[in-house]
Symmetry: C2
Subunit: 235 residues, 2 copies
């Protein structure tokens, strides 16, 4: 049974790395000693090792050991034998590119679908969707494909931002961009605000956190869903 936590962000304002999630992670990673960390998204271009150490510091607070995927000779084998997996944020293009390079996409999908508890934040959440076509990131590397894991039947837009009516900037709002996405793609998109998560248990997908989420379906007006809502109707 799938057990996935898809978080908009790793860090909310005025709080430490992963801090707001720790209570939820105690439950999500209950009975697990060691979490396999996928550091490929390299926020700010930091090394896999440095990133893994940051994650270890956070997970120590809930008594978990963290192993970075880069520490293994055979990353496929590491994913297959992982007790639990966490993919951190950073740049989604860099993340996906490295997953393809190491031929890990289908291995990771299989592992998550067969029930290995998974946590994603930001880019690590983005890849749970059907494609990375609703990423907010800068396309700093060219990956072999935009197709992602598809462990949920829609796309994620993490760090979802409401339009700022005060802005004089002529760039598009997030809503405009997602509507544009639907001129070329048909899957629904979940705009996940910072602090919000999707909790997937088997076929059930529930919004958690204190905020609403914004749902974009092709040829429909975008609408809000309340925390606690079941999203399994979307596909």
């Amino acid at each position: 049974m799938k057990q996935i936590l898809i978080a908009s962000t790793s860090t909310v304002h005025n709080s430490g790395y992963l801090e707001y999630l720790l209570e939820a992670l105690k439950i999500h990673f209950k009975n697990i000693d060691t979490v396999l960390f996928i550091p490929y998204a390299r926020p700010g271009g930091i090394s896999h090792q440095d990133y893994t150490e940051i994650v270890q510091t956070a997970f120590s607070k809930i008594n978990k050991v963290v192993k970075g995927l880069h520490e293994f000779d055979d990353p496929k084998d590491a994913i297959e034998s992982a007790q639990a997996i966490f993919t951190g944020g950073g740049n989604t293009f860099v993340l996906v590119n490295q997953l393809y390079k190491n031929d890990l996409i289908s291995k990771l999908k299989t592992s998550i679908e067969s029930g290995t508890p998974y946590l994603g934040t930001s880019a690590g959440s983005n890849i749970c969707g059907l494609s990375i076509g609703t990423s907010n990131d800068m396309p700093i590397v060219y990956p072999p494909s935009f197709n992602a894991l598809g462990v949920v039947p829609f796309n994620i837009n993490p760090h979802y931002l409401d339009p700022d009516s005060e802005s004089t900037h002529m760039g598009e709002t997030r809503e405009t961009r997602i509507k544009e996405f639907h001129k070329f793609n048909s899957q629904p998109v979940i705009g996940l605000r910072e602090g919000s998560c999707l909790k997937v248990k088997g076929s059930k997908i529930v919004l958690i956190g204190s905020l609403k989420a914004r749902i974009f379906e092709k040829n429909k007006q975008p609408y809000e869903i309340e925390t606690g809502a079941d999203l399994s109707y979307l596909n």
Copy 2:
């Protein structure tokens, strides 16, 4: 001799489409009757025809006829025989994808390098750089490559935004993103603020408009350049 105008945006706050550029365009497109418009970036997913009509309305004010590239049976031929070319903004991925689909990248590059006056705004400016790797757009379609025209020896970041110290949002600033780009790429990046343009005449590249631009070179602190500065030292 190259004659290129690379504008950060088509539209500044409280002004009509292309309005702030019209005086400069009178000079840039002097002695030209007809401008070939490349409508491929499709802002908001609008049709090529609708987009071309918007552009025609603006160019009528300086007595230019606009022909949309989609109106021609042979787009390669249309580019080759164009008196002048304008590529409008929208989504950079959609634009580049369509240019590759129609096998127009090298044709357009040749045309610009051989002296056909060119105007780009936003996505149409982005493609003047070496790659679209510093686009701000959402990757709503997967193009065959991120390589762009390379008619200037660096990358463009249009709609450049300074960090907002008031923001509580945990997404990366533009500066952070461009620094991240330099972990994986070596070309300089010009952060062009809204209202700014680069004017290319042969090998000379000058910043025009009232604002400074921000220059990012790999392994250097980013720095500002004044309007009027010559950027031809960058490569």
